[in-house]
Point group: C2
Chain length 428, copies 2
């Protein structure tokens, strides 16, 4: 981890740059898979599963009894942990539902919004070294709370052609309707167009590698919505003398172990804090099973000493981190100044992994500086808000003239007429 | 306008199809303009303005005194209308701000969301036959209410190289910071990368033709957010015997006059209502200045007689209209059944043009069936919500074990360690 001391302000932006991604040319491949799956449906899904996952599957749909029997394969301890996490995630996301609020903007003109669930949503859960059942909770729970009618989940087969029981158990617990053992570009394409087995959905959620990311971009062009643009995970920590350097080091490592392209940043006003964290980092790193990955991620990472906490916050806003830990004594006073971040962890006991699993907040968050303009996943991500307006006779008399003049100036006579014809009848 | 009587349910989906758009190959052009503007900045913006708008501009920035003096060119009547519209739009959008709500998900674990403005936003206002100053209000007002620091507006020069004073006046009234006389792909590219004159923004809003739409898609790939995918405007009306056929005809025409690719749909349980509307349509159409455009749009349009109001609502949900007028007596009872629509107009006096200008709701809405998963523009479009969590010593003791077990099962040891190291210190 590089340490940088009081960098000049003109160099700040360069310091917020994420590790450059290799410019992969995936467009041709994604385009091929999409057009084949659109044309051939399940047959093409099977073909690409065989090609990319090296496995031949007769059926993608995970049978209902498999979903149910998954619980027999998990320890009671794990099931109880999942239950607690569900409880917290449900509580927080349920609180995000909004009451309708009718506004009379002018006498006789009432306007309001009502939420409606997105009817059909697809959740993608990546495969790889570990079964990300926590993401099943983070996406499945708000989908069901929102009232989505159809919630389906795609996840790649492991090398034995099956899905990890923790994923199946989590899916079953949160009420996912169907689980399909399909991954990668082919899963996203199947949910984009629909096949004989897999339904076409309105919106696709979930993390994935560069293939999945490219496929989600493509599905957007096909009229499907996606949760947000994806990128490698990140953490920025702001720490002062009140922090516990061992905790900070543990938090930095928890992010660094995600992948070689993860990035962690430590900001402090104190060189001594940075030094202590570095010592702890070495000690804790040496004991990690995913040590190699974390080590590579730390090569992309920086500790920066700045002049003031105010500068730290300013730098953090410029960086716009996915996760932000504020290990400062007076964190509450600083909250109004934090303007760009996905999820913020306050004080010495709010470790990032709390939010990853069980505090109740969502862990699907904007990376790569996207927290400048995107929120993380929430109940809102699974609904849309429809505006309603009820204009009475009195109401159209109040605002009619305004509409007529504006429509006329815009050269839209029929817009004006729609008002005039009403005003004429009322006056008569 | 084609009339279809009780179509079979299997044919419904085909009837919801929008007029096919000509498959324009704009990618190469958009790619060229983007790469030139990224490289050469203002020089390239000038080059493309000369090429596409046939005008040579020395400076794009509209001077502050021009913004202010625009008011001298508008009638008092128009300024007063704009004032009334601003008042209603402000009232409705201000009501969309959300109070923070702290949820204690477990003893010692407090979670909440706080809204922050997107710092820099760009508004695009198309040129063409009429000055769309109403869209300036619809985008500028929520941007300022949200607290966006920098709100810039791009709009193409007219043939004399200037911007219509109604656009300048509206921009000045709602507090837009800078207006640039730049349109088309070059405007979107300039706001995507930033040039010497035009700032790089975080999110781009506003309607436009196919070039602007393609450019906004491209800017998304460059890390800029956009309001929503765009398409031609639409209106669906559900009417029964309680409707006024002349009003319905006027509403259909107000949508049809937008462009030849607009679409209107009339649903009713009554052939007689449809017949009366058709008669009125002919009469009113003949008097319209934009008659030719509306006539062509009506060729894409349909009146459909269905068996029941329930079927009408079901068809409408399948169509997912941008605008929906419910000209039915008992509209309030039906609201819960309306699940896909951008903005809904209730009763005989709620004409669509009320929402276009002055009821207070936003007129930037999802088209092409996108109301299945997108909301129209609102205050929410200009903010993001950051999640915060404050876990106390007691809190980490409550949820620590849950996190440890879940992280371990996912194979993420460092995630587990971040909790264990805290629990160890507390127990000691």
């Amino acid at each position: 981890m590089n340490t940088i001391n009081n960098p000049q302000r003109k160099d700040w932006r360069a310091l917020t740059m994420r590790p450059a991604k290799p410019a992969e040319q995936l467009e041709d491949l994604v385009s091929e898979v999409f057009s084949e799956i659109r044309k051939w449906g399940d047959v093409a899904v099977k073909k690409y599963t065989e090609r990319f996952d090296k496995i031949k599957l007769d059926s993608f749909l995970v049978a209902g009894n498999q979903l149910k029997s998954a619980e027999n394969e998990l320890s009671d301890e794990l099931k109880s942990a999942i239950g607690s996490a569900i409880n917290n995630i449900e509580k927080f996301h349920a609180s995000q539902a909004e009451e309708n609020q009718i506004i009379e903007t002018t006498a006789g003109v009432r306007c309001w919004r009502e939420s409606r669930p997105i009817e059909s949503v697809g959740i993608y859960i990546p495969g790889g070294s570990a079964p990300l059942f926590s993401t099943v909770l983070m996406l499945g729970i708000p989908a069901k709370l929102a009232g989505c009618k159809e919630v389906v989940l795609c996840t790649p087969p492991d090398k034995n052609g099956i899905v990890h029981p923790a994923i199946l158990y989590a899916a079953n617990q949160v009420g996912v309707d169907k689980v399909y053992c399909v991954g990668g570009i082919q899963a996203i394409a199947a949910m984009t167009f629909g096949t004989e087995t897999i339904p076409k959905v309105d919106k696709i959620f979930g993390p994935g590698n560069q293939y999945v990311t490219a496929a989600k971009q493509r599905s957007q062009l096909q009229g499907v919505a996606i949760d947000m643009p994806a990128g490698p995970s990140e953490l920025l920590v702001i720490a002062d003398d009140s922090c516990n350097p061992a905790y900070v080091a543990a938090d930095l490592l928890s992010q660094a172990e995600h992948g070689v392209d993860s990035q962690v940043v430590l900001l402090s006003t104190s060189q001594s804090v940075v030094d202590q964290v570095m010592v702890e980092l070495e000690i804790q790193l040496s004991r990690l099973p995913r040590k190699e990955m974390a080590e590579k991620a730390l090569l992309n990472s920086k500790a920066i000493v700045l002049n003031s906490i105010f500068e730290c916050i300013e730098f953090s806003n410029l960086y716009a981190p996915e996760h932000l830990i504020i290990a400062l004594k007076n964190y509450m006073e600083l909250l109004p100044d934090i303007v760009n971040a996905g999820s913020v962890f306050l004080g010495n006991f709010s470790c990032e992994s709390a939010g990853d699993y069980a505090s109740g907040t969502n862990h699907t968050l904007p990376t790569q500086g996207y927290s400048r303009m995107y929120s993380g996943v929430s109940l809102d991500s699974f609904i849309k808000k429809i505006t309603f307006q009820e204009v009475s006779e009195k109401g159209i008399v109040s605002i009619g003239k305004t509409i007529e003049i504006m429509a006329e100036t815009e050269g839209l006579t029929a817009h004006k007429n729609a008002v005039s014809i009403r005003l004429d009848t009322i006056v008569k």
